[in-house]
Amino acid sequence: MERDGLIELSIVGCDKNGAVSADDIRAMFRQNTKLVVINHASNVTGEIQDVETMAEIAHAHGALILVDAAQSAGCIPIDVENWQLDLLAFAGHKSLYGIQGIGGLYIRPGIDLAPLKVGGTGTRSAWLYQPDELPTKYEAGTPNVPGIVSLKAGIEFINATGMSQINAATNRHMERFLEGLVGLEGVTLYGRETAENRLPVLSFNMKGLSPSDVGYMLEQSFGIVVRSGLHCAPLIHQELGTYPEGRYASARPASQRMTRSVSSWMQCDRLGRTHEGCRNKAN
């Protein structure tokens, strides 16, 4: 839409932890600002934003708020009504334990959006146009039944296990991750150095190694699989200085309820000394 000249964007930065400041949001409002879009939690640093305050700010300026809860749904209780969120998008395949290709969009009652897709009118097969009733209005075509079933199973798992139980496990993992990395020579950690106010993801780099090398080495040596690269989030990597100057972004481990023991991670306590063993014919 921006490239088509239909909207203008104001991009708000973040601090070194990935936190977006309420003052920065306020300062960015223009007369034509209609919508504030914010990640509930960063998929790079794990930082959790105060979206309730952001919603107050947006509404005070006559704008709506859209919260991207792709990373947080399933990790943090979300109260769209009390937080007065207008729109909330979430992915089903992360902490909601569904399969890829399923997600959802909450639309506050009273907000009328044009459907992104139309066709396969379903409940009104004789109609030539997309029905106006909800949810059919926004659910064109054949539903992704396998995805929906998997999402239901994921949510039932969370409800049966208890979000607090899940968080207790993932927080333990995070504490061990951080314990293994913080302060190590040659390791740069992005985001908070504690498990406070963050989801169970973190990003780091190792001196002398690209993130993809770190990922390869962790998988081959320790059986730890991480996501390396930009994490589809180039803007926060620009803020963190890991892109484009850093060129390679970061390596990102994450934890969830099914993550097995992180004891092998603790072997990484030697990672910080790796550059001592580096020999480089080019230097």
Binding site: Y216, M217, Q220, R270, R273, R279, N280
Partner: protein, 98 residues
């Protein structure tokens, strides 16, 4: 060392091609040193419990692996990447003949 298999992993948007070489024995420090003859740049992280290494000749290939494993990951660049692959295989197998 004999190359017993080469698996195509990925064609990259940067024009590189990632392949996995499988050897008939575990990679040793001596073998890494042998392969490094072909590289302009060698990194060897010997202080890791299982040392990671990376060999690189810009514009032609990067080869990375972990000492003790039987596989390495090779990224080949350029139009003559198949020839580069053949040279790397030949280099690896020459070691076995000695």
């Amino acid at each position: 060392m004999k190359v017993v298999g080469i698996k195509q992993i990925e064609e990259c948007v940067d024009g590189g091609s990632i392949r996995e070489f499988q050897f008939d024995d575990s990679i040793t420090k001596e073998f890494i040193d042998h392969l490094s003859q072909k590289a302009e740049k060698t990194q060897y992280f010997g202080s890791l419990p299982r040392p990671f290494f990376k060999l690189e000749t810009p514009g032609r290939f990067t080869l990375k692996g972990v000492e003790g494993n039987r596989t390495v990951q090779v990224k080949l660049f350029g139009s003559d990447r198949n020839r580069t692959q053949e040279e790397l295989v030949a280099l690896a197998e020459r070691r076995q003949e000695k």
